[in-house]
Symmetry: D2
Subunit: 250 residues, 4 copies
């Protein structure tokens, strides 16, 4: 067996960070060598011999953290949000000087969610009908969820690319809102319910059969398998990678 | 074992009627003694010795059929639509003269659908949240379905009777229609999809748990168990009964 | 509005007890007046003026607790397991002297689970086929779950009472175990899966339609609505009541 | 728009064949030019100018049909079962002389079923747990279904290739059969129920999340989209292709 990968966690006391500390400590092929908080110097990564850093901090700290890691030859897995095109361009600039280093930026670490979206994209062209039902806790402010909206968009693009027309719908008498929101021609329905966490169904239909891809996320530990997968893969992917999709090989 | 119940079917060549002819012929405790079509005289029921008639004809024929049966002491199961309050009052009038005869009018013979609605009504007061998702083939003209709208209404009434307030919903940013149609405060979502037939889910949620009651109807044979149940029960229910609910004993 | 019900929690520091403390404190119609732990005297209930006590302690403490409460005219909701027929008989004996006091013993406070079982019992006689699929986390030792086994039993009894025969099954070539466990003639399937908590589906089928009753339990907070319901109801139910079913009014 | 593809159907009066005749007639990009039954000469294909033949006949006729088509430069889509390795080798031999002709042999035309299996294979390596629940009408003789058994096998192979060990399962007290059938380490559960047709769920679980891939087949028309896809694609795939998978491009 190979030596475990030496990992440092940035933002180790945060909600996500503390889960990452636990997950890295428990996995047989990773070893926690540094747990860095806001007040700690980044040199703790170097002192611990970290090969991979996981950044779960804040938008205002993440860029400095990435720069430090790249300059010190440490691969980085970034779960912190807030990296737009200009920020990603700066990261690319730093990587140009250190072409052997890998930086992986993942907006969503839930493997099931990422797979769902990819499968939906692949299935889209084979089905006349498609709709999305997403279900969340009632404290959520936006409807539909960002994931559902993005899923609808990639499905709509795949349908267009395959030359499919509008989905069939003979509704002539509709109570306002019954048919859901229209996202690029794909109907999306948002359920809000006490007891639920985060769930999504993509339903496809054609003559005599339906295909349903459902993802259920029960708590934030659902991100940890994706974090571990990223830690294992980032070292063999020099340069900048955006999205967990790239690691799924599908 | 008792003698089988002698049954006549009115509208025997229609879509529903032909299924009823088959079902009555196959069930061990019923016997088909008359299959009457538009051009046949109703006296065929008497000649065959029918104890129960099943009316699956048209709104313009059903009242005359019921009157004939009541006058001849034949119990009637009515699946034909179009009986409003004035028509039901006329039926009650005829029954006043023949108090031993039973007439059962059922807008929906699918036992699963009727049970779903009743269970939803009973569960309503125990859950903070409730929503309905109904799914049908894409040729359906109305959204939501009549069954979903009625289910929402009985759920809303049960909530009100128990003193429950509005369902929790923190949505502040909604793409038009995402949160479904509002039926008496209950959100209803309508999916239309090739391949589907008629399906409904009532979802209830409270802290840490959800309860889902789902009904799937695959074809019109789904009405036959309800028709047979009605045939078996109508004889012991003199007078007018509206709705299959009364037979379920719940 | 009525005055809130004054509640004491026994076992207040335990996993369930601490949730009950929180729930009683948050509900508008209940007030926490005593949080009793193993080392605290039961007189704290009296001092606080508790009208209802909730026992979430241990099998070796529960009987003494109940006795104290009954003797002091305090209604009791019991969530602690371990009360068999002899213990319940002793409780009945104490209640004989205090007929105005109510004791409610609930093996399962999850309202959704109790409703599921009751609905399954009520639906059973209307469907030719029935099977149960229960799904739990992979650390569970027994398969099927106790709830699934009990559900199968009440469904089997309801079928027998209605004169239904065996469920149809033409299987002639079975890989060992594919058709599940046989509980009184009802097939039960147990799924064990990382990520899941506690879930159960009862599936009913007849010609052309199916009815599915699904319960999902996500965490132990799912017991709190049932605890609160019990607190509200126990005062108006003098004597011994076993099972949450009695409170559902179904 | 291109000219429609000229199609001949062999076995045109059979259950599948008559559906294919209808589907080819209705699709905008295919044209029915020959409907051949057992008693008709195969030269009807040539006379009609068929570019593609669809064989939905019998195991004892299919080889002669394929040979005739290949020799006459007509592409063939084969839905008839009964082609084992020796038969496929003979087809390859005929194709060696006509390298421009395509023959596509598809054991399952339901696109949703084929996609389900492929998605399950792709998802397998990312999840600690996996189980399969398949649900069919009660007249089915074998349990589990052939599709479920094959799905379990491809999932098991994908897990092995990724180095995953056994799925976690702490069951120590099992009622016989509760945990399903063991197919290469993957548990498979078979539900048999009146009202159902053919359904399958593949459930995957990892920490805090699950992914479910469900396929519902309601009637044999569900094969027609796969037949049409095959007709459209076979012309651009010279030589022998086995399985619809190859056409999905996934």
């Amino acid at each position: 067996m190979n030596n475990p990968i030496k990992v440092g966690v940035l933002g180790a006391r945060g909600r996500m960070g503390s889960e990452a500390v636990r997950a890295v400590g428990e996995a047989p092929d990773t070893e926690l060598v540094a747990a860095i908080n806001r007040e700690d110097p980044l040199t703790g990564l170097v002192d611990g011999g970290a090969q991979v850093a996981v950044d779960l901090t804040h938008p205002d700290a993440v860029l400095d953290n990435i720069r430090f890691c790249v300059e010190h030859g440490i691969h980085v897995v970034v779960g912190t949000s807030g990296l737009g095109t200009p920020e990603l361009d700066r990261v690319r600039g730093w990587l140009a000087d250190r072409p052997e280093v890998g930086v992986l930026v993942a907006p969503n670490f839930a493997i099931g969610a990422v797979l769902s979206m990819r499968f939906a994209e692949l299935a889209a062209k084979f089905f006349e009908s498609v709709e999305i039902v997403e279900l969340h806790h009632p404290k959520k402010a936006d409807a539909p969820s960002g994931t559902a909206a993005r899923t609808a968009q990639v499905v709509a693009q795949a349908r267009a690319a395959a030359g499919l027309g509008a989905v069939p719908d003979a509704t002539t008498k509709e109570l306002d809102g019954a048919r859901g929101a229209d996202v690029d021609g794909v109907r999306v329905h948002s359920v809000r319910m006490t007891g639920l966490v985060a769930h999504q169904e993509v339903l496809f239909g054609t003559e005599g059969e339906t295909l349903t891809i459902r993802h259920d996320s029960y708590d934030r530990r659902s991100f940890m398998p994706g974090v571990l997968l990223s830690i294992r893969e980032v070292g063999s992917r020099p340069g900048l990678t955006v999205g967990l999709d790239a690691l799924l090989g599908i």
